[in-house]
Symmetry: C2
Subunit: 676 residues, 2 copies
């Protein structure tokens, strides 16, 4: 190119260069590495390459653009505008030719690699780079003088247009190929899948396909299966739905399901079947809710813990029920959705994220993908709180992971008044440190219990129990109000100075609420023991990783998981669930596993990233680490002045009380926890 | 290596070189590129690497081998000999170490790339290079301190031992992997499949697998499905079986089946289902007959014509029923056998040979693989005679192919007394040129009809008709005896001078046989017309290719196909079925398509060879070549002195007769033939 050739500047990328006069804007973009989409092979049909050229002086860029910097609107553009409509000022990049110096803007919707902005400042945006792309091609008709098959001519046309040198056709398309080509009068739109390996044509439509491609991101939890149906071109969630994991009837927690498989021949197969059935129902719901064509749902990503992973893949989880907890496979699975028993469309692909270790699943890998501790400048502790807590600790110099058997207390199980997070459950609690009187909020009601109209708002369904985040706040508030001592003992009415401390066997309970009909919600000393065990396991896991890393504090804490999102950082730290950390550096990541599944669905480079990361993460098996038991025992108590929580103590007041008057039976509690 | 290092000479390859003292014979073989097998990773278990060392003076090789040229028999060899037995004089190559100058023989069974010698001198031996290999490995046990999955450790062990850098595990193995590893006490035998792409583990056995791997070669004909079960390590056929193609009930010939698919919604699917069912029955029979374990049958190759190909793959053959005869796909198919509806073992692979063109199928490709015209020094005409004749003409400078619609006359259909080749059918005929009296032989009887004991040998089932090769001989003999003139007219009793020429409507028939009960077998003038049409089509196809090639003669003719194998070259040439050629250069290749299927099963390089060749072959579509019609019309007559058959005329006497006395209706006959 010489100085006489027109200078083209693309915004917002700022890429610039000279091109020969008469070059199409699309070719210029390609030559300069500008991200400009195109589906129809420069036929002026798809309008994916539309751009917004500027006119006038662009002092920032040092050029003046005249009206004739682009070729006049041609008949293809005129036809497109007439038939489908083109926004004012827009041109088709494949038709408009560069005739003079030019500044041209690529609107977001014309970029292949659009960005999906995430609401939380501390995380990366998602760059769209899906495994699927559409390509509209015109295929040569058969010629008896030069016989070649329809598949051969289709692939030849697609190879030329897309540049995929290795491109194959899904076998299932062979049955419809000939009819589709003829129905489309030798023009078809192909959905091309490319992930790690070669590219494949996985769906075909006659003529130009007007629709969008969709994908499914699934978080396959032990309790709940949550799915999002996503438009791949924009990343927009078109529908979300969830259902109870139908495996629950074989066991509430994972270990019960492993036991069921051990005790019942064919039991693992039964559980595989019901979870796949459940997923198929979920797909039906999502497709209906989003109102999309089922055959446009062509990719799916899945995250889950190791036991669910094995059951979903049809592997008996037997070995995960006993040391050394050997996985059959932990590698990412890229296959056809129908190979996993899913009836979506014949060509639909499935991607199961890799597992990290025998107790640290693809859900934790997805959390890592979403929260990216491996890219963090400061030392981040990421905790996905559930029946097992998956814990990641690290920064860009390295990441460690472990799993800690917290048990189901955080989900409201093993708690006397515990229940799942659902309307009627107490979720927020405050206890006045002077009067020791509680106030609380229940799920589904905006008012606090001491506000006018609360009773009416709660209505007939009433107050039904305490959910996981509620019990954490209750215990922490009881500790701050001096109702509970650091060892976890509830004082008597006399010791504490409130009649709400009522005798309960050899210990005491704290009366949170009662109605006129004798219904009560209390926090028992047993409840506190259960929470102590759970939080001690979680804390011990985090401490173990910190020991391995050689640190006493972390720079920030991320609480992930549906439950983690509802935990109050202050209360968690009062309990000693998480290590000492500035409270404003404790954030919630919401359903980070689900977000990770969505990232893996929308960005194929992210798949390579997590596949690499799971190998680099240092896996710590808590079961073989003696220090885990030491930390666990030490962490059953709640923080007091002797503990390593200086930041916490600067924020909250933790009364020095001791209700241990001997012979109360409170020093018991199960130290050994089953995994689940 | 220096001159002090021992010199090792391997026979029969003659490869030689010096290796460090103490090198195992197996390592020496690998270093010198000698083809020596090994399955067990030098553990002394498989004995595949056994060799026969020599002792004494080898003047041919210029070395003297002493008794201590190899290390003494060690404990591993001793144990192997005690437990499993080792032939006298044999050593395990992985255990025996080179200590001095050595001449060592690699017996045929220790070579990976054994040769299967074919009986016919003009064709290549088959070199064994199957897609499957066994590998016995010991796998690291799981370690909680370094968690990794069972699959990961298995693949790591296999990668190290086999050198396959890219090695994946078939998904179906995930369900049994953990149990198999533990049952084998962390030792397993893997069947590894490698064809074109990456290697895959497709079957696993606990411990050392004592069995053999097997493959299936199938010739899927319109009428008959023939299968061979082959031991992959030796190429030995362990069982052969055939069955009628169950699609016959939808139409005898291919065009009837295409019509059935056109006329009946779901008809193509029905035909796909029945042929797959038939194949599954065939597999059952073969596995039972060979007495092998079904899960050792792990590869399969298939050849068939284009219509059968599409129906087998589940593609509606609609487009093959009309110009331009566009194939959906002609590419080789490499997939799982279960993807083609075959229930063999979960990991069994299938390979469908590529098609050549819309009328020239994978059966013709297999014939090309077997007969290798593309490697021929002289110009070869290869004709696979069936309802369609597939014709290949070429030499190492290039090959052309076409298909010619001969119709079913050669298979005994459309012939008044025609029948399939089966016991009771007349297959050989001679007519005395002086007396015009016939003698013949029937299938299943060794005697000629004029020999003593013939009647008794034929027995009660009697003489039932004439098969394809019989009718060809009959017509040719009638021509040589002056019973038929060059235009195909049968003379009257007076004209010919035998009462066997009997009036039959407006023409005459020749009485071949009658019994005392009025049963007759005659050759009618209609029969001769049918044979004339068929042979003219075949000859016209060959001539068309010869025209394209610019030749008037070919150096040799190969007749392939079950029917082709039974044709007498002289009679075929008297009829004018094939071009003029020295009779001793006309050979039969038997079931060359079946042989080609077996070659593709046993040699993966042959798969690449035929995939390349089908692209290089110049396809001639007879339907669009005006010269085909010209040749066809000209070829309906039988050769006489005016024709281009100088070699033929030097061998046989063709009487100059002319029975065309006008108004006999014999000049009719169908000129236009349906494809089938």
């Amino acid at each position: 190119m010489t100085d006489q050739d027109p200078l083209v500047i693309f915004t917002p990328s700022g890429r610039r260069g000279r091109v020969a006069k008469g070059t199409s804007v699309l070719d210029a973009a390609r030559a300069l590495g500008v991200d400009l989409d195109s589906v129809c092979g420069m036929r002026g049909i798809c309008s994916k390459c539309q751009v917004a050229p500027g006119v006038g002086e662009f002092s920032k860029h040092g050029v003046t653009v005249t009206e004739d910097a682009l070729s006049p609107i041609n008949s293809v553009e005129e036809r497109y505008d007439r038939v489908r409509g083109l926004k004012p000022g827009r041109r088709l990049g494949c038709q408009a030719q560069v005739m003079g110096d030019l500044v041209v803007d690529v609107p977001a919707e014309s970029q292949v690699h659009k960005q999906v902005v995430r609401k939380r400042a501390e995380v990366r945006d998602i760059v769209l780079s899906p495994t699927l792309a559409l390509s509209y091609v015109e295929v040569a008709e058969p010629d008896m003088h030069h016989p070649s098959s329809d598949a051969e001519r289709l692939l030849q046309a697609l190879r030329t247009q897309t540049g995929h040198e290795v491109l194959t056709l899904d076998r299932h398309l062979l049955t419809s190929l000939q009819a589709v080509l003829r129905k489309g009068k030798w023009a078809v739109t192909a959905a091309i899948h490319q992930d790690d390996g070669a590219a494949s044509v996985i769906a075909l439509w006659p003529g130009f396909f007007e629709g969008k491609l969709h994908g499914l991101a699934v978080d396959l939890g032990s309790t709940t299966i949550a799915g999002h149906l996503v438009e791949l071109e924009t990343g927009d969630v078109r529908a979300s739905s969830g259902l109870m994991n139908p495996q629950i009837r074989f066991g509430e927690d994972l270990m019960s399901r492993v036991s069921y498989a051990m005790m019942n021949p064919g039991g693992a197969g039964e559980m595989t079947e019901v979870v796949r059935d459940g997923l198929n129902r979920l797909v039906d719901e999502l497709v209906e809710e989003a109102g999309i064509e089922r055959d446009s749902l062509l990719d799916a990503s899945f995250v889950m813990n190791p036991v669910m992973h094995h059951l979903f893949l049809g592997i008996d989880p037997y070995e995960l029920g006993q040391a050394p907890f050997a996985l059959a496979t932990g590698a990412a699975q890229a296959c056809l959705a129908r190979d996993l028993g899913l009836d979506i469309a014949p060509g639909t692909r499935a991607y199961v994220l890799p597992l990290i270790a025998g107790h640290v699943g693809a859900d934790a890998a997805a959390v890592a993908l979403s929260e990216a501790p491996h890219r963090s400048e400061d030392l981040a502790l990421v905790v996905d709180v559930g029946t097992n807590a998956e814990i990641l600790l690290g920064d860009k110099t390295g990441v460690m992971a472990c799993s800690s058997p917290t048990g189901p207390a955080f989900e409201g199980a093993q708690i006397s008044s515990g229940q799942r997070a659902a309307p009627g459950a107490i979720e927020r609690i405050e206890i006045d440190p002077v009067t020791r009187e509680p106030r609380f909020r229940v799920i589904g009601v905006e008012l606090w219990s001491d506000e006018d109209g609360f009773e009416a708002a709660v209505g007939a369904s009433g107050i039904t129990g305490i959910c996981g985040s509620g019990i954490i706040e209750a215990v922490a508030e009881m500790r701050m109000a001096g109702i509970v001592d650091p060892t976890g003992l509830i004082g008597s009415a006399e010791q504490v100075g409130t009649p709400r401390c009522i005798p309960d066997g050899r210990t005491h309970s704290y009366l949170l609420w009662e109605d006129g009909e004798g219904r009560q919600i209390t926090v028992t000393n047993g409840d506190i023991r259960a929470i102590q065990m759970a939080k001690a396991a979680l804390y011990a896991g985090a401490r173990l990783l910190m020991d391995k890393r050689g640190v006493d504090t972390v720079d920030r804490v991320v609480l992930a998981g549906a439950f983690g999102a509802h935990i109050s950082p202050k209360h968690a730290m009062v309990l000693g669930m998480i290590p000492d950390c500035a409270l404003d550096r404790v954030t919630s990541a919401g359903n980070a596993a689900g977000t990770g599944a969505r990232i893996a669905l929308l960005n194929r480079e992210a798949r390579r990233e997590i596949e690499g990361l799971v190998h680099e993460i240092e896996k710590i098996e808590t079961a073989v680490e003696p220090r885990f038991q030491e930390h666990f025992v030490a962490a059953t108590a709640m923080p007091n002045a002797a503990d390593r929580f200086p930041i916490l103590r600067s924020v909250v007041d933790l009364p020095e009380v001791d209700f241990n008057t001997g012979g109360d039976g409170a020093s018991g509690g199960r130290r050994r926890r089953r995994r689940g």
